[in-house]
């Protein structure tokens, strides 16, 4: 029984690598819009590229740029990005037993923990293929995400006025596309609708960036409290 998975390995490996490149190309394409939105918001090309190189988690990058673009402070923007990145910690938890990291591999792997690489570390026939799925997808997305960001950032510099070409609608549309696959079931819909209402209601009352933090606090308190009531059962 043992040699069998290995006999299939070349085929499994090329399938994983093919998927990794396809996912990298797709995310690279939306890095174009990130690069464009970020520079349209007023970040320099260098700042935009540093975000993709160092932060490297799409939703957080969009959030940071979105809060800054709306006139929010740097601390609020950073806090929003970090809160949105909290799911990566959970992904890491799931990944650590699969990847069996030692030494310098751990900080390196941590950098590649994102939605796409985590998704590709699940569901293959062997752990070996799952591990390859993680590393190959992480690497492929990293390279193409950064190439896409640079091209998008340079592209907008050639534009006359980002607002005139509608680029201020790009970030909320991108969030919508990121949100859609997460909203499954009544509870998730309720969370999404309530968050939008609370945030909107807070706009005239709080400085820019405040509404997002109010929503985050509420989500944390309600999320933690809800669990206590269902633990009783």
């Amino acid at each position: 029984m043992l040699p069998e998975p290995d006999a299939d390995w070349p085929r499994a490996r090329s399938a994983v690598l093919r998927d990794a490149i396809a996912i990298g190309a797709a995310t690279g394409a939306y890095a174009l819009s990130f690069g464009a939105v970020a520079t349209a918001t007023g970040l320099s090309v260098l700042q935009t590229c540093v975000l993709s190189l160092v932060m490297f988690t799409g939703a957080s990058q969009y959030a940071l740029v979105g809060v800054l673009g709306a006139g929010g402070g740097g601390l609020t923007a950073a806090a929003t990005a970090v809160l949105l990145g909290s799911r990566n910690a959970l992904y890491g938890l799931r990944l650590s037993s699969l990847l069996q990291l030692r030494g310098l591999h751990r900080p390196l792997a941590a950098h590649l923990v994102i939605d796409e690489s985590t998704a590709m570390s699940l569901g293959h026939e062997s752990d070996r293929a799952n591990r390859l799925g993680f590393w190959a997808t992480g690497a492929s997305v990293y390279v193409l995400w950064n190439v896409g960001t640079l091209i998008g950032a340079l592209g907008t510099q050639a534009l006359p006025s980002p607002r005139a070409v509608g680029l201020d609608a790009a970030a909320p549309a991108a969030f919508l596309a990121l949100l859609a696959p997460r909203v499954r079931g009544r509870a998730a819909v309720t969370v999404a609708v309530a968050a939008a209402l609370v945030a909107t209601a807070c706009v005239p009352l709080l400085p820019v960036g405040g509404p997002v933090l109010v929503v985050a606090m509420l989500a944390i308190v309600i999320g933690a409290a809800r669990r206590t009531s269902s633990e009783v059962r």
Partner: protein
């Protein structure tokens, strides 16, 4: 802006590293898991509302709202990411052009 870029990046990286390093039982607590599940949904939804309807501390409906509404239709039609963003940008631009 550099402060936001660097602080945010450092925070996001530390969260990733924490997930790979922290003992399983802390992050595996159902409470933490539940928060991590609803936080992105709440934040994304709040950001969509804010960036569509607010300018500074003022609320209002402008060309962006039409663009995001068009994006919603694209999402419901299961359009790929770039198409969703493209539809929003194009709709917003066309409405501004018409005015």
């Amino acid at each position: 802006m550099w402060a936001a870029v660097l602080l945010g990046s450092a925070g996001c990286y530390l969260l990733k590293l924490a997930g790979l390093s922290v003992p399983r039982r802390i992050l595996a607590s159902p409470r933490v898991r539940r928060v991590a599940e609803i936080l992105p949904i709440a934040l994304l939804s709040a950001l969509i509302a804010l960036q569509t309807l607010s300018t500074g501390m003022r609320l209002g409906v402008d060309a962006r709202a039409a663009g995001v509404a068009a994006a919603l239709l694209a999402v419901l039609a299961r359009a790929p990411f770039l198409v969703v963003v493209g539809v929003a940008v194009l709709t917003t631009a066309l409405i501004r052009l018409a005015h």
